[in-house]
Symmetry: C2
């Protein structure tokens, strides 16, 4: 039998949001190398003898470097039939899935990709915020907050100049809000969605000028996604009761404007 390395997305958090194909392949896994954002319920789909290896980030523990993970993937793929690299969301949305795929393929490993539902898209969707809306805008732009050097991505500066809905994997919130305030104005609607698709999912609403301050008061639990744009004002339309509590006067005015 030919060995296969599956680079697989686990989806945004709810284990039921993995693909049917992903769940089926998990049921035949010999080895799973997984990240911090992967649900234990998904690991439980694998057979009892399966090796479950945590290679994610965990506070106070040594972190695996990308090189080490790459080498582990190849090492296991050479020794087992079904090896799975399981990552939260989609492995190709800032997940370095391609780097792993390329490294493994370069080392003669047969790789198959099983995409996942990206939190970047599912978080606003599940919160009741459309990615785009007819008459408001026609595109959305997904940016990683932090580049490999740890700095804020320069793409943010270009992105704010467009009418696109901006979706940013959370980091550098204060800096991003300052840039948004300067270019799109202090009243640009912003939502932060934490733990999307889980029972603990929570939506923080604000505008560019107050969002950072708000999150200092009510801490944001990661993983979280920042959504910036006029579409955020659509949120209230769906009548989520928590929304009303969080919406300030400015946001209320905005909703009237956008409606």
């Amino acid at each position: 039998m030919k060995s296969t390395l599956y680079i697989m997305g686990a989806g945004p958090g709810d284990p039921d949001l993995i693909s049917v194909k992903g769940a089926r392949v998990l049921g035949t896994a010999n080895v799973i190398l997984y990240d911090a954002l992967v649900s234990q319920d998904l690991l439980a789909l694998a057979p009892p003898g399966c090796k479950r290896i945590f290679v994610g980030k965990r506070k106070g523990k040594k972190e695996y470097a990308q090189d080490e993970i790459n080498r582990l993937l190849v090492w296991y793929a050479r020794r087992f039939i079904c090896v799975i690299r399981l990552k939260g969301g989609d492995p190709f949305v800032f997940g370095r899935g391609f780097e792993e795929q390329q490294y493994a393929a370069d080392h003669g490993v047969h790789v198959e990709v099983i995409p996942g539902i990206s939190s970047a898209l599912a978080a606003p969707t599940l919160a009741g915020i459309p990615l785009t809306r007819r008459g408001v805008n026609e595109s959305f732009w997904v940016v990683t907050g932090t580049v490999s050097t740890g700095e804020l991505s320069r793409d943010i500066h270009q992105a704010v100049q467009s009418s696109a809905t901006l979706i940013v994997l959370i980091s550098h919130l204060r800096e991003i809000m300052t840039i948004v305030t300067e270019v799109r104005g202090p009243r640009e609607p912003v939502a932060i969605i934490e733990q999307a698709s889980l029972a603990a999912q929570k939506v923080h609403l604000g505008v560019a000028s107050d969002m950072f301050e708000k999150t200092v008061k009510t801490k944001v639990i990661t993983p979280a996604v920042i959504v910036i744009g006029k579409v955020v004002a659509c949120y209230e339309n769906l009548n989520f009761s928590e929304a009303f509590q969080m919406i300030g006067d400015e946001q209320q005015d905005l909703i009237q404007e956008v409606r």
Copy 2:
């Protein structure tokens, strides 16, 4: 029992890429209102008595207006326990899922969202093209080619000025390639991926200046996604044999540059 309208994504094409939750809910459906891009295999998951209603676009047939679909959703949700609005990809990526959700909620229908894997992200991923790549760029921008008036989205003009990977749901190819050529240059790498995730998946490779001409020679079957950006040159790295046949000299040079 409370009636629920599920607004559900079917994923990019392969029926196994629907979510576990989506497949389970399909198994209890009383009514499914589905689009042209939905696989028959998914409709077959529903119980024998389920009504399967096609509301998509089909050549030569009368097309349902969005208003009619909205009204149908509410009509069925008031009469049946489990009503599913099933759309290809993710219903919220230019799929008007939010409009349907909002209309139904405004009419007192309980709505639940089950996201799907968007073709916009899965098509490049499954073709071996990363959405972003460290050292190349840090964001991707998803644009609908056509706005409701039938014209090319103005966001294209802004998007080409960034370093983001552009992902465009196919339309207006000639016009888009002209804009890309003017701003990013004639040698900007472009891929068109048709029927992503299906056995018939095909990748057309080119550069901004020759892509339109190439597709005139070898017809592109929709649904298709256009991917524009330096990351397209990563494609060859994964050694897909078809790539070599399609890559021209210009593209080969580019791959050398990007590597």
